[in-house]
Subunit: 185 residues, 2 copies
């Protein structure tokens, strides 16, 4: 039996449910549950899903809990997952992350990060559901803009399903990598 | 006389001093002081400097304090300013902002945001000093990468002075704006 502590969520599920109400077009099959990251997702393939996006490296249970706690205390991390209820496996994940600003009347900016759908769950609308939910979430949180950086091959997808724009003259993304970390993201 | 509360810094100046030690090439004239944002910078032109970058809008003293407090509690905001010691005016500002990750061994990613030098202080190396300091700061904080998004005309500057790279096939920056906010950033 799962203990209540293990089912602890990273953020309040009510906020996510408010976001889901904005766009009734978000449809995934009934055996999928879109919800905040839970502490026990460590045991249900959350890092395995992320490893299909980039190098996860050596993240122990203790390290996972440490980051989970930091994100939860910080309060600006909305790591959202889709669980396959038949197997309790994490089928996909995406993160909304907010930033306080002095500009724009002291507004809040949102970013989408680390979007991944497990290879075994492709073609079931899960990526669209995740990003559409985070877009709605950023509106629920009253953000003035939502941004992301992506690979060339993802541009048309973000444009088609969510109206993300490459803005003329100001859409350059630049990087410095400090160690021998992997290529992306 | 300035009260101690008014001179309260957003983050520990020691961290910034450690960053400054990394690169002895950072040189600005003696009448400039590079330091963390202080609470009383509201009275010394901090928002006026930011308004040369984008729309600041209506940010009252109370709203400023509220954002300052949120950023300070959050602990991931390194808003760094250069003060003109002759006038106590803010000559420039740039922000380093860090994000917890489950990927890369549970690493920390850094971002540079809201870089601005007041028009009256151009050509005095202040922009280079600010960004170089934040680059060093992201190393002091053991970040695995440092990123930014910028206008076309800034690419060569970030490449030349700091070795920022446009990475082939994965340097696209996309945006959704939700309200009638101004054009940039």
């Amino acid at each position: 039996m799962t203990s209540p502590a293990a089912m602890e969520y990273l953020f309040d599920e009510k906020i996510l449910n408010n976001a889901l109400k904005i766009d009734p077009k978000i449809t995934i099959k009934d055996n999928f549950h879109l919800r905040p990251l839970a502490r026990n997702d460590f045991e249900h393939g959350f890092l395995a899903a992320l490893s299909q996006l980039t190098e996860v490296g050596d993240v122990s249970r203790e390290r996972f809990d440490e980051i989970f706690d930091k994100m939860k205390t910080n309060g600006c991390y909305y790591v959202t997952v889709i669980e396959d209820l038949d197997t309790n496996r994490i089928a996909g994940s995406a993160t909304l992350f907010t930033e306080y600003k002095f500009i724009h009347g002291g507004g809040l900016r949102a970013r989408i990060e680390d979007v991944v759908v497990d290879n075994d769950y492709r073609g079931q609308n899960l990526g669209v559901a995740l990003v559409q939910t985070l877009k709605s979430l950023s509106q629920v949180l009253h953000c003035y803009k939502l941004t992301l950086d992506c690979n060339d091959q993802m541009i048309s997808w973000y444009r088609k399903y969510f109206d993300f724009q490459i803005e003329e003259g100001r859409s350059n993304f630049m990087t410095i990598r400090f160690s021998s970390s992997s290529s992306s993201p």
